[in-house]
C-alpha cells in the first residue's frame, strides 16, 4: 500500500521563504545544531529556547521531537502563530494530517494573513480528496496576499492540476515561472500539462529544463523516457528510464529508512544508530550534505562508538570545507576503531588539505599498512612526500597511483 500523495507532503516547507506577507514567519536559519547554548536555554525553559529546539529538530528531520517541542510551546503561548505553524509542519511530516490541519488553522486564527500557513493548509485540504473548493480558495488567498511569491502561484497551479483544471493550472504555473525562473516544480507540472494536451516537444523541453536544474528530479526522467521513446529516440529513452531507476532507488532507500525510523517512533524505541547511519549514507551519495550531517550526528548521539558514522561525518565536513572539524571526526573514528584504514586515509586527506604534510604522510602510510591502498591514498601520500621535498619517493607513489 502506498501512503498516497507523497509529493504534496514534500511541498510543505520547513523554513518557508521570505514572504512580503502581513505576517512574517520567524525562520530557523540561525539555529546551530546541538549547540551548548541552546541546551542551556532549554534547561532554563524559555520560550525562545523551545523555538530553537523545535527548529533544530525540524532541520534535523526529527519530526516527532519537533512536534513534542512545539506542542509544549503552543501550550505556553496559545497565540503564537509561528509555533502553531511549525507544529503543523512537524505533524504533516509525520503524516498526522488531521492534527496538522488543526495546527495550521490555529496559526491562521492567530494571524489570518499568514501565507505559509495558507499554502500548507491548501495542500493538505487538497490531499484530503474531498475539499477541492476549499483547497483552491485557500491557495487563492495565499496568492492574493503575496502575488509576488512564485511558490504561492505554484501551489495554486498544482492544486488546479490535480483536479484536472488544466487551463487555469497552466496560468498559475506560468506566473510562478515568470516570478522565479528556477521554480522547479512549476516547470515540471507545466511539462505535464504540455504532455496532457499532446504538445510533446514543449513537454520534453520542460522536463529537460527540470533535469538540468536538478539532476535528482526522478519524475522528470520517467516522463522523458516515454516521450523520447515515442519520438523514436529509443536509446535516449532507455537511458532516461535507467536514470530514473537509479535516482528513485536512492529515494526508495531513503523511504525505507524513514519507515524504519517512523516505526521506531511509534513503538517508542530509541532510534537505531544504524538506521540514521544508513539514511546518512543515502544523503551523502546524493550530495545532500546537510541532511547527511544530521543523520550521522543522530547516529553518533545514539551510539557514540559508531566508527563509520564518525568517519562519514568527517567526510561530510571535509566536503563542506571544514577540514579541521573533519580531522576531529576521523581521529574519533580511529580512536573507536584503530585499524580503520579508510578513516586513516581520510585523515591523511584532511591533513593534506590543511598543509600538515608530515601528519598527512604518517596517516597515509598507516592507511596503506592497513591495506587501504587505493589510488587516492597513494596519490595523496605522493603529494605529501613531494611537498616535504621527498620528490623521488613522492613520484614513486604517484606513479603507483597510476597518475
Amino acid at each position: 500500500m502506498t501512503s498516497g500523495c507523497a509529493p504534496c507532503l514534500l511541498l510543505i516547507m520547513v523554513l518557508g521563504c521570505q514572504p512580503a506577507t502581513r505576517h512574517r514567519l520567524r525562520t530557523c536559519d540561525s539555529v546551530v545544531v546541538g549547540s551548548e547554548d541552546s541546551k542551556s536555554l532549554v534547561s532554563a525553559g524559555s520560550v525562545e529556547a523551545l523555538h530553537e529546539t523545535g527548529c533544530n529538530h525540524l532541520r534535523s528531520e526529527r519530526y516527532l521531537q519537533a512536534a513534542d517541542t512545539y506542542s509544549q510551546l503552543v501550550e505556553r503561548r496559545p497565540q503564537d502563530a509561528d509555533a502553531h505553524y511549525y507544529l503543523g509542519v512537524a505533524l504533516s511530516k509525520q503524516h498526522e494530517k488531521t492534527a496538522a490541519v488543526a495546527a495550521f488553522e490555529e496559526a491562521l486564527a492567530d494571524a489570518p494573513a499568514f501565507v505559509e500557513a495558507l499554502w500548507s493548509l491548501a495542500l493538505l485540504y487538497n490531499e484530503s480528496g474531498d475539499k477541492r473548493a476549499t483547497a483552491i480558495e485557500t491557495a487563492n488567498r495565499a496568492v492574493e496576499l503575496a502575488p509576488e511569491q512564485a511558490y504561492c502561484h505554484f501551489v495554486l497551479g498544482f492544486i488546479l492540476f490535480s483536479h484536472g483544471q488544466d487551463g487555469e493550472s497552466a496560468k498559475a504555473l506560468s506566473t510562478a515561472i515568470r516570478l522565479d525562473e528556477s521554480a522547479l516544480h512549476a516547470h515540471y507540472y507545466l511539462g505535464l500539462l504540455h504532455q496532457r494536451v499532446g504538445d510533446m516537444s514543449a513537454a520534453i523541453k520542460a522536463f529537460e529544463e527540470v533535469i538540468e536544474r536538478d539532476p535528482q528530479y526522478a519524475q522528470a526522467y520517467y516522463n522523458l523516457a516515454s516521450l523520447y521513446s515515442s519520438a523514436g529516440r529509443t536509446e535516449e529513452g532507455t537511458r532516461m528510464a535507467s536514470l530514473f531507476r537509479q535516482v528513485s532507488a536512492s529515494r526508495a532507500k531513503e523511504d525505507q529508512f524513514r519507515v524504519m525510523l517512523d516505526q521506531q517512533d511509534t513503538d517508542g524505541y530509541v532510534h537505531n544508530a544504524g538506521t540514521h547511519y544508513g539514511l546518512g549514507q543515502v544523503y551523502l551519495k546524493r550530495g545532500l550534505l546537510d541532511r547527511a550531517r544530521s543523520e550521522f550526528e543522530a547516529a553518533l548521539a545514539v551510539d557514540p562508538k559508531h566508527a563509520e558514522a564518525a568517519n562519514n561525518l568527517g567526510v561530510v565536513l571535509s566536503q563542506g570545507a571544514e577540514p579541521e572539524q573533519a580531522v576531529s571526526q576521523f581521529l574519533m573514528a580511529i580512536r573507536i576503531k584503530p585499524e580503520y584504514g579508510l578513516a586513516w586515509g581520510n585523515l591523511g586527506q584532511s591533513y593534506l588539505a590543511l598543509g600538515k604534510y608530515p601528519l598527512a604522510e604518517k596517516s597515509y602510510r598507516r592507511a596503506i599498512a592497513l591495506n587501504e591502498d587505493s589510488k587516492a591514498t597513494k596519490y595523496g601520500l605522493g603529494t605529501a612526500l613531494i611537498q616535504q621535498g621527498k620528490v623521488d619517493e613522492g613520484h614513486y607513489f604517484r606513479v603507483a597511483a597510476g597518475r
Binding site: S3, G4, E96, G129, R132, N223, D255
Partner: protein
C-alpha cells in the same frame, strides 16, 4: 486475414433460436438500477480474513471471485474466495472457506463447495476459472498465502486438487493469475503475481504509522516475492507446468504484485502481460514471439502521470474509447487517484485519468476490484470499482476516508468521459462495506450484466441489474481449439450502427478475480450486429455478418463456416 469465412445473415438466422425477447422499444435513457440480492439468492458465506482489527498485512487483501459454468448447464456459477480466521476468532462452520455456489436459476444459488471438494480452508487470495487440461470442463486455480490449489473439474460436479501434481502450487504468497498461450504452442500457460515473502509471526504485533494512525506494517520495508511464469507442458507433459520465468525474460526486480493481466496490448497477435504492483512501478511485459521485454518505463505504464509509484491493486482492460485497442485502468490506494492509461495505438500510453474524469472521483477511496462493463447496453464500456480501506482504525480518526466505502459505477458518455452515477444506480450502490474482488456476468441470462462483489469479513454483495432494458445486446461465447478450449487470447470485434467494440477472452480479470467467459456487447438501438470478427488465438480470423441482437451466440474455432459454428441459445 488468414481465413475469411462468411455466413450470410439468412443462413445464420436459420440456426438461431429466438431468445423470447420482444422487439426492443427503446426509451431514450436507461437508468441504472442495481439491487443486492445476495442473501435471498443464497450467497451467504462470510469471507473471513484474519482478525477484524487487522493485525498484519496478511489480513487485509482477501479476496477474489470467479464466475464459471462448472457443470456445463449454461447457468453461470460463482466461486468466492476466503482467508482464514485467527485462533481467537470464532466463525460459523460454513464461513471462512472457499464457497462454490451453483446457479439453480431464478436467482437461487446452492452452496455446493463441500460436495464438489473445493471448500477446504486455505488463506485464499484469488481465483481463476480455466480449462487448463483442455478436457472441456472449467477448472479452478486458487491462489493462496501458502500453497496454491488447482482444482481439476472431473465433469461430475466434483474437483480434485492437482496443484502439486501439476507443479502450480508454489509455496509463496500468490495473488493474481493470468492464463494465456504466451508461447503460442496451443496450451495455456500462467503468469502468477506474488506479493510478499511473509513471516506471519514476525509481522504480527509490529506497528507502523499511517497518517498518524497506528496500523500494521507493510508492504514497504518487507521483502517482496518475485512473480513466476509457468509453462504448460500440454498433453505430452501430462498438463504439468514448469517454471520458465527466466527463459522467457519475465524477470524484473521483485515487486509487491497484485493483479496480472494477459492481453494483446500492442495488437501484434501475441499476449503481453501487465501487472499492477502495490507501492511499486507496474510492469508491462511485451511479448516478442514468446520472449518478453519489460518496457513499462518506456511506454508510460509504470507510474502515475507525475512519475509516482502508486499502490496498484486491481486492473481492468478494455477498449473504453472504441478506437480498436485495449486500454488499461488500475485501482490504487486511498488519497491517490486510480489511473487510466489510454492506449495510443502505437505501443505507447497516455495517462487520461483526469481527462476521463476518473481521477478525482477516486481520491478518497481505496480501490480494489474493477471491471469495464456496458451495464446499460448502450454500446460503450462503463466502469465498476469496488472500494474499501485496509485499516479499520481509520474510522477512529477524522481522515476523510472510512474502512467501509461505497462502490462506484461510472457511466461512459461514449466519448471516453465518465460520470460517477453511483448515487442514482439503485440501492445496491449505496452499500458501504470494505470490498475487494469483483466479477461481472449475466447471471440470469436476461441480457444485462450483474456484478458479484467480495467483501472482507462479510458476505458477498450480489448486484442484480434491474434496470429497464432499453437497449439491445449480444453475448458471445467462444469455443476454442484443441488445447485452448476457452479460446483465451481471442479478440472479438463487434460492429453495430457504425460503432466498433473490441474485447478479448481472458482468464484472470479485475482484482484476483474472473469475469464470465462470455463477452457481453451492448448494441444500443441496433437490432443486429453488422459484423462479428474473431481473431482466434492461433491468429486465424473468422467473420460473421448480420447477427440478430439479444441472444447468446456460441462461436467455435475452425467451425464458424460449418452449420454448427454459430449457435444462439435462448434461456
Amino acid at each position: 486475414m488468414n481465413r475469411l469465412q462468411r455466413l450470410s445473415a439468412v443462413w445464420a438466422l436459420g440456426l438461431i433460436d429466438a431468445c423470447g425477447l420482444s422487439q426492443p422499444v427503446s426509451p431514450p435513457v436507461a437508468k441504472p438500477q442495481f439491487v443486492d440480492v445476495a442473501r435471498e439468492a443464497g450467497l451467504t458465506g462470510v469471507t473471513v480474513s484474519g482478525s477484524r482489527e487487522k493485525r498484519s498485512i496478511l489480513e487485509c487483501n482477501t479476496g477474489g471471485v470467479a464466475i464459471l459454468d462448472y457443470d456445463g448447464n449454461g447457468l453461470l456459477d460463482v466461486f468466492v474466495v476466503s482467508g482464514m480466521p485467527p485462533k481467537d476468532r470464532a466463525v460459523e462452520p460454513d464461513d471462512a472457506r472457499p464457497m462454490l455456489y451453483e446457479n439453480a436459476g431464478g436467482w437461487h444459488f446452492e452452496s455446493v463447495g463441500k460436495s464438489a471438494g473445493v471448500s477446504k480452508r486455505t488463506w485464499g487470495m484469488g481465483a481463476t476459472a480455466v480449462d487448463y487440461d483442455a478436457d472441456g470442463w472449467t477448472d479452478l486455480y486458487l491462489t493462496n498465502q501458502g500453497s496454491n490449489r488447482l482444482y481439476r473439474n472431473d465433469g461430475q460436479k466434483a474437483f480434485d486438487d492437482v496443484g502439486s501434481q501439476a507443479s502450480v502450487d508454489l509455496d509463496s504468497w500468490s495473488t493474481g493469475a493470468a492464463f494465456g498461450d504466451y508461447d503460442n504452442d496451443g496450451d495455456l500457460d500462467v503468469y502468477v503475481a506474488n506479493y510478499l515473502q511473509f513471516d506471519v509471526d514476525a509481522a504480527e504485533g509490529r506497528r507502523c504509522s499511517w497518517r498518524g494512525v497506528s496500523v500494521f506494517c507493510g508492504p514497504t520495508g518487507l521483502p517482496a516475492a518475485p512473480d513466476v511464469y509457468l509453462q504448460n507442458g500440454g498433453p505430452d507433459g501430462m498438463w504439468s507446468f514448469s517454471d520458465a520465468t527466466i527463459e522467457a525474460g519475465l524477470t524484473s526486480e521483485a515487486y509487491y504484485g497484485f493483479a496480472a493481466l494477459a492481453s494483446d496490448l500492442d495488437d501484434d497477435g501475441d499476449l503481453d502481460i501487465y501487472v499492477a504492483n502495490d507501492t511499486d512501478p507496474n510492469l508491462y511485459f511485451r511479448n516478442d514471439g514468446g520472449h518478453f521485454a519489460e518496457i513499462s518505463m518506456l511506454n508510460a505504464t509504470a507510474l502515475s502521470e507525475n512519475g509516482r509509484e502508486q499502490g496498484g491493486m486491481g486492473l481492468a482492460a478494455s477498449d473504453y474509447d472504441r478506437d480498436g485497442d485495449i486500454d488499461l485502468f488500475v485501482t490504487n490506494f486511498s488519497h491517490d487517484n486510480n489511473t487510466l492509461y489510454m492506449n495510443d495505438g502505437n505501443g505507447f500510453f497516455t495517462d487520461r485519468s483526469y481527462a476521463a474524469r476518473l481521477g478525482e472521483a477516486s481520491l478518497v477511496n481505496l480501490g480494489w476490484g474493477t471491471g469495464f462493463l456496458d451495464h446499460d447496453n448502450d454500446g460503450d464500456e462503463d466502469l465498476f470499482v469496488a472500494n474499501g480501506h485496509v485499516y479499520p482504525a481509520v474510522d477512529e480518526h477524522e481522515l476523510t476516508t472510512q474502512y467501509s466505502q461505497l462502490n462506484q459505477l461510472f457511466e461512459n458518455d461514449g466519448a471516453g468521459v465518465f460520470t460517477d452515477v453511483s448515487a442514482k444506480a439503485g440501492p445496491g450502490l449505496k452499500i458501504r462495506k470494505s470490498s475487494r474482488g469483483t466479477a461481472t456476468a449475466d447471471l440470469d441470462n436476461d441480457g444485462d450484466l450483474d456484478i458479484v462483489v467480495v467483501n472482507i469479513d462479510d458476505t458477498p454483495t450480489l448486484l442484480r441489474n434491474d434496470a429497464e432494458r432499453v437497449n439491445n445486446w449480444l453475448s458471445i461465447e467462444l469455443q476454442g481449439g484443441a488445447w485452448n478450449t476457452q479460446a483465451v487470447g481471442a479478440r472479438v470485434t463487434v460492429t453495430s450502427d457504425g460503432h466498433v467494440q473490441t474485447k478479448e477472452a481472458r482468464v484472470g480479470t479485475g482484482y484476483l478475480s474472473q469475469d464470465s467467459a462470455r463477452m457481453h456487447f451492448g448494441l444500443g438501438k441496433a437490432r443486429t450486429a453488422e459484423r462479428i470478427s474473431v481473431r482466434w488465438p492461433d491468429g486465424r480470423n473468422d467473420v460473421v455478418e448480420n447477427t440478430m441482437s439479444n441472444r447468446l451466440v456460441r462461436l467455435t474455432q475452425n467451425q464458424v463456416g460449418s452449420p454448427l459454428g454459430v449457435l444462439s441459445v435462448g434461456y
